[in-house]
Amino acid sequence: MSLVNQVPNIHNKQSLSGMMRQVLLATIPGVLVLWYFFGWGVFIQLAIASAAAVASEAIVLKMRGKDWRRAINDSSALVTAFLFAISIPALVPWWLTVIGICFAIIFVKQLYGGLGFNPFNPAMAAYVLLLVSFPVLMSSWVPSFEMWSQRLSLGDSLHIIFLGSTSSGISYTELINGFDGYSTATPLDHMRNQLRLELMPAEIADTAEFKLMTPAWMWANVAFLVGGLYLAWRKALDWHLPLALLVGLAGTAFVFNLFAPEQYPSMIFHLLSGGTMFAAFFIITDPVTASTTPKGRWIFGIGVGILMWVIRTFGSYPDAIAFAILLMNMAVPTIDFYTRPKAYGER
């Protein structure tokens, strides 16, 4: 008789890889929206990032004397790859993606001990590395297709990402420097730049340029919200974290907008711009780097939300998510220590 000695003897049959696959599945609506607005580059970046992530994870696991097949089995490297690829502009050169992913997997994840041991969110740390090293490339979202007379084909997208120019010879630099006179800024960038020109948020929102660039981000946010709600429904994420982030961000934006609407854009603008929903449901819900106590999760999420607002408002980067999350990652051990719940019967 072969004995299975385990406590307890039964299990709810959930698994880590199952959770990871749920996350991958839930990115689909968002990815489709990004593809619709930003073209084939989105899929190409996903493919490059996934290949680089699985390969680098397998190599490091092998070097560490662990089972390298885990790199594929637990799907955690793939999740990092997806989150990273979704965060970066769709047409950046392939080597940028590879550098980012290798940094995320090798340095941020594996050098700290691999899955479960990394204090920082790998995708966000890599994003920040690239943003600081290649600011122009990383803040250039090639205009969404509505601004184009024709869509960039799959072949041209591949051409640009791997060779630096389309088959008809338009270089990447030309692309990111604007097409048909439009800039490649995101609504967040645009709002900030115009605010510095002493314009009021309402005025800025009324411009044709702003109206043209907004739908892509709004729909992407809606799509990631849908995916996120699916995850919450499947209990693959802790709904406290996204809610806390949204409360922190929306609350801060609401208060400032209430008292100085001529200076601070509305709560809705913050909720539906940049990667707000993606951050709330897919990034800060990385359990490894988030706070783990019930109270701590509220503090962590609200903290990220407030920092996002602060950095978006006073900083000069395209979006504030990565910085806000890394800053709060640093605070996690302290938060966890001071928010231990009272045990049953503890006086």
Partner: protein, 531 residues
């Protein structure tokens, strides 16, 4: 129907989970009498506390109900022969414990072909006995907590002198197990009778019976009995119905659900004025007081997919697991393992020759598919699902971290001792980490460290005492020495004084002499000068 006696609890417990109950089909059949096995194996330790001491010898003939081992020390229980028969061995036998290691047991060859139980007297009549008599009978009968912990009932009563309420725990929350459910359905009156007897023994004024809302038949059966009670007794008893949620049957959880209060850490329910006993224990007390029958048998849930006739069986203590599952028709060809206890807190048996003991509430003869091995352990990703289900409001993932890195002091400061080992954290862990094993390890290490610390503290006290003693002795010696020196000095001084006196006298004489001489000289001089 008297609705006053039934209360739905409104307080919630932290965490917990509604598990797949799997109580059917075993709970759908009335309790069946087990067969009389050829041999019964009675371990000397089938209760919490010290081993009982065998008082029979190999070859001795025994009658049913004869005491064969006596309680030893404060926490222990008598053991009686459940059959007429002959002692064939007193030797180590494989146990139905987690380790399965052999322990001393009395092995009896049975000569019975049928068991005749005494007809019980009216329990209301038995209730006229004094509390002392009932308590002594319970002690003599070797009754222990039949919910699974096996704590001697008499010791529990003695330790809960301040309890004013008796809680009969019928919240049988673990999947598969349904012996208490079935006992309430089939022997509701006996259970209530036993409860009143227990309450009298423990001087409790009030009785509360609690069960979960997934046992409607048991609730009805208890209600029916309550309605037949005389009014003065009805006023002293209440039935509580709790939501079905594992681990509601843990006494701390059940009390929280009923009273809304938590039993303080490191204390017992008596802190809230409660004495808690199991349904099966109440039935055993009933049998003890109305039939003068010691604890010879118990209800055991025989279930699992490898069992053809699952149900609750009334089994003689000492029946081997092999015989027990054979009675319920085990299919050996698909049997993969037998779990002792429930699927959450129970464990697989190493050897099926191990006996059914006073703490065996369930045997699950499982097929390989029914209880599959866990997949490989993965790293903890701190998802916090364990936090959500922990009924003790702990942080299981942090405790795991501390246990793994052997930071036992931190584990203790995160209240690892309040872990009731219900197993829910491991049940929900997506990384399949055997968390409870880690906690058990940490707890035992902390215990050892504590013992080592106590030992070293004792040694330190001894060492300090020795040092103190030596120091005292040294001081004493010095004091004596100093005194002696003083004495000597005093003597010397006295001598010196004496000498001084002599010297002074001499000096005085000398001075006088000198003076006389001088004056003579002066006289002489004056005389000399005068002329």
């Amino acid at each position: 129907m008297n609705q006053m006696n039934v209360i739905n609890t409104t307080h919630s417990i932290h965490g917990g989970l509604h598990l797949d109950e799997k109580k059917a089909p075993a709970c759908n059949v009335a309790i069946q009498e087990g067969e009389i096995p050829d041999v019964v194996v009675l371990p000397l330790n089938m209760h919490a506390g010290r081993d009982a001491v065998a008082i029979v010898e190999v070859g001795e003939n025994l009658y049913r109900g004869q005491i064969i081992a006596e309680a030893e020390g404060q926490i222990s229980a008598n053991i009686h022969s459940p059959v007429n028969g002959k002692v064939v061995a007193i030797e180590p036998r494989p146990m139905s414990s987690r380790s399965g290691l052999p322990e001393m047991a009395i092995v009896i060859q049975t000569t019975d072909t049928e068991i005749v139980r005494e007809t019980p007297c009216d329990w209301i009549e038995a209730l006229t006995e004094s509390p002392e008599v009932i308590a002594q009978s319970i002690e003599a009968a070797g009754i222990v907590g039949l919910g699974g912990a096996g704590f001697p009932t008499a010791s529990k009563i003695a330790a809960s002198a301040n309890a004013r309420k008796l809680l009969i725990n019928g919240a049988e929350c673990e999947p598969y197990i349904c012996c208490d459910d079935r006992t309430m359905r089939d022997y509701a009156e006996q259970v209530i009778g036993g409860a009143f007897l227990l309450a009298k023994a423990a001087a409790c004024d009030f009785i509360e019976v609690a069960t979960e809302d997934n046992k409607p038949e048991a609730i009805d059966a208890i209600k029916d009995v309550l309605n037949t009670l005389p009014e003065h007794m009805q006023r002293r008893i209440q039935l509580y119905v709790c939501p079905t949620k594992y681990p509601m049957g843990g006494e701390r959880q059940l009390l929280e659900a009923i009273t809304g209060q938590q039993v303080p850490s490191n204390t017992y329910p008596v802190e809230l004025g409660y004495l808690v006993h199991n349904i099966g224990t109440a039935l055993a007390v009933y049998n003890c007081m109305t039939r003068s029958e010691p604890l010879l048998s118990r209800m055991v849930t025989l279930t699992g997919e490898a069992i053809r006739r699952p149900g609750v069986y009334h089994l003689l203590l000492g029946t081997t697991v092999k015989d027990a599952i054979a009675m319920a028709g085990v299919d050996e060809t698909i049997l993969a393992q037998v779990i002792h206890g429930g699927p959450m807190m129970g464990y697989p048996l190493q050897n099926l020759d191990a006996p059914v003991t006073k703490i065996t509430n369930c045997l699950i003869a499982a097929t390989a598919d029914e209880i599959p091995p866990l997949p490989e352990e993965q790293p903890c990703i701190r998802c916090g699902q364990c936090v959500d289900v922990c009924p003790a409001t702990l942080l299981p993932q942090q405790l795991y971290w501390f246990a793994r890195s052997e930071e036992f002091e931190k584990a203790a400061s995160f209240k690892i001792h309040d872990c009731i080992e219900c197993g829910l954290c491991s049940y929900v862990c997506p990384s399949h980490i055997p968390l409870v094993d880690y906690y058990r390890y940490a707890k035992s290490e902390i215990k050892q460290l504590d013992q080592a610390r106590i030992k070293s503290e004792r040694s330190k006290v001894k060492f300090d005492a020795r040092n103190d003693r030596l120091e005292q002795e040294r001081l004493e010696k010095e004091r004596i020495k100093a005194e002696k020196a003083k004495q000597r000095a005093a003597n010397k001084a006295a001598n010196k004084d004496k000498n001084d006196a002599v010297a002074a006298a001499l000096a005085r004489v000398k001075a006088k002499k000198a003076q006389t001489q001088q004056s003579n000289d002066a006289d002489n001089t004056s005389e000399d000068s005068k002329p």
